[in-house]
């Protein structure tokens, strides 16, 4: 088990955004999370990546506890050092790429391995070049993010996340900021990673893609997991009325 989240509760001020959510991800699994805007999908990813703190529940990576909740109390996180260690286990690809605009494409990909992981510069550069090649961006290594299309930016962001050698990769609506025309090139890369058995959790509005690429689909609404299961079942024969309704609206 790479990621284990149990009974997660999260509030923003008075509004509860996650109700008793549990999510476990095994090595090599691809899990897609679908659902309407405001259903808590992105918040769940942000909790899994520690950008938001949970109020109650349990989180562990590779069996190492990151947060737990004593009876009747608020969630407690482990020490900063242990959190930093757990951060090495995952990467996150944002909707808005969040590349560093003052760094070249190559430096975007190789800087964190060198600065954060203290890896050998030559080795990190060689790996970054290899990753960019895999993303079909070999000729863009010396370009700056402002010179790239949205699809190219997102592929650099994926390379940047992969350069840290994560055990699991999270995607927060990776194609939502892209023109429909550029969506394909990013989805192709994610599909390729799935074929290589990369463990991934993908929040997405691309239903056909989610159906094709995932081992498991989770449908969320109003902060609850409404339905979860095999993609063929969830998309082909949803058990819950709410899921059916959501998918119907989507197919119109």
């Amino acid at each position: 088990m790479i990621l284990e989240m149990k009974n997660i509760e999260k509030h923003f001020e008075d509004c509860e955004v996650l109700h008793d959510i549990s999510l476990s991800v095994d090595s090599g699994e691809v899990v897609s999370i679908i659902g309407p805007s405001g259903s808590g999908k992105s918040t769940l990813l942000r909790c899994a990546t520690f950008l938001e703190k949970i109020d109650r529940g349990f989180i562990s990576y590779k069996g190492e506890t990151v947060a737990h909740t004593p009876d009747g109390a608020k969630a407690e996180y482990v020490s900063r050092k242990e959190i930093a260690k757990a951060k090495n286990y995952f990467g996150l690809v944002f909707q808005n790429f969040n590349l560093f605009p003052h760094y070249s494409v190559l430096k975007n990909v190789m800087d964190a391995p060198v600065t954060v992981q203290k890896r050998d510069r030559k080795e990190a550069e060689a790996e970054a070049v290899k990753l960019l090649g895999k993303m079909g961006l070999s000729d863009k290594a010396n370009a700056y993010p402002c010179q790239l299309s949205g699809g190219q930016k997102q592929r650099v962001a994926i390379a940047r996340a992969l350069a840290m050698n994560p055990d699991i990769l999270f995607f927060d609506e990776p194609t939502s900021a892209l023109d429909p025309e550029l969506t394909g090139e990013v989805l192709k890369i994610i599909r390729q990673l799935a074929d290589e058995k990369m463990t991934m959790v993908i929040v997405t509005h691309e239903m056909n893609f989610a159906r094709a690429v995932s081992n498991r689909v989770i449908f969320m609404d109003g902060g609850y997991i409404v339905e979860e299961g095999d993609p063929e079942e969830v998309f082909g024969n949803p058990k819950q009325e709410r899921t059916r309704q959501f998918l119907q609206n989507y197919n119109q």
């Binding site: 990546t49 520690f50 950008l51 930093a84 951060k87 090495n88 990467g91 996150l92 944002f94 808005n96 969040n98 590349l99 560093f100 605009p101 003052h102 800087d111 964190a112 600065t115 954060v116 992981q117 700056y144 993010p145 402002c146 940047r160 996340a161 840290m164």
Partner: protein, 215 residues
């Protein structure tokens, strides 16, 4: 007084003006960063004190502040410090400009996209690495035009050192003009300030261009 003597005397004043200018920048650019951190501190007392201080400095004339820094120690504590004139001038200028720079830095930092912090956090950059490697370089680019404005104002503000009878170019122009009943010193001083600011604008423009490789 011949023109050569006049120019030599005023040349010495120009060097003193240039001295105030550079020492003020060297002192106030980093001090502004410190003040900005105080202003943005999570400690509410510290933040309120710094905010109040900035408001006083920005709300009163620099000329008055110079007098307060110079005469304050004597009138408030009865101290008479030898050779305090030049340090008082520098303290006055540095503190004043640091407060303006602090507010410019703050504006630049608050305009930064939160996604930059989040991306850095996910990649495991420490707080100080995030600030110095990711945030600050981008902030400098956005605030450069505002900094240029302040630096140009500083060139002209150096003339306020005449308040404490410091012999910089403006004081000398006034003195020589009165003693020689001549208009020339004013023209010389005017040309000096104009040329100095022309150089400042040129240099700042070069720096801006050197950062225009990304947007």
């Amino acid at each position: 007084m011949t023109l050569t003597t006049m120019l030599t005397t005023m040349g010495a004043g120009m060097l003193r003006t240039i001295g105030i200018f550079f020492l003020t920048l060297i002192g106030s650019l980093p001090l502004g960063m410190v003040i900005m951190f105080g202003r943005k501190s999570k400690n509410r007392v510290l933040s309120a004190i710094v905010k109040g201080f900035i408001s006083i400095i920005r709300g009163t004339p620099l000329m008055l502040q110079l007098l307060v820094w110079y005469f304050g120690p004597y009138y408030l504590f009865g101290w008479s410090i030898k050779g305090y004139r030049y340090p008082a001038i520098l303290i006055g200028f540095i503190v004043n400009y640091a407060c303006y720079f602090a507010e410019i830095y703050r504006g630049g930092i608050e305009a930064m996209d939160r996604g930059q912090y989040e991306a850095a956090e996910i990649l495991g950059y420490s707080k100080s690495q995030t600030f110095f490697l990711i945030i600050l370089p981008q902030v400098i680019k956005t605030i450069l035009p505002s900094i240029t404005n302040e630096v140009i104002t500083l060139v002209k503000d150096t003339s306020l050192a005449f308040t404490l009878a410091y012999q910089e170019v403006f004081s000398l122009a006034k003195q020589i003009s009165a003693s020689e009943t001549s208009f020339t010193p004013f023209v010389v001083a005017g040309i000096f300030y104009f040329v100095a600011n022309y150089v400042v604008a040129y240099v700042m423009d070069r720096i801006e261009k050197s950062m225009s490789f990304y947007s």
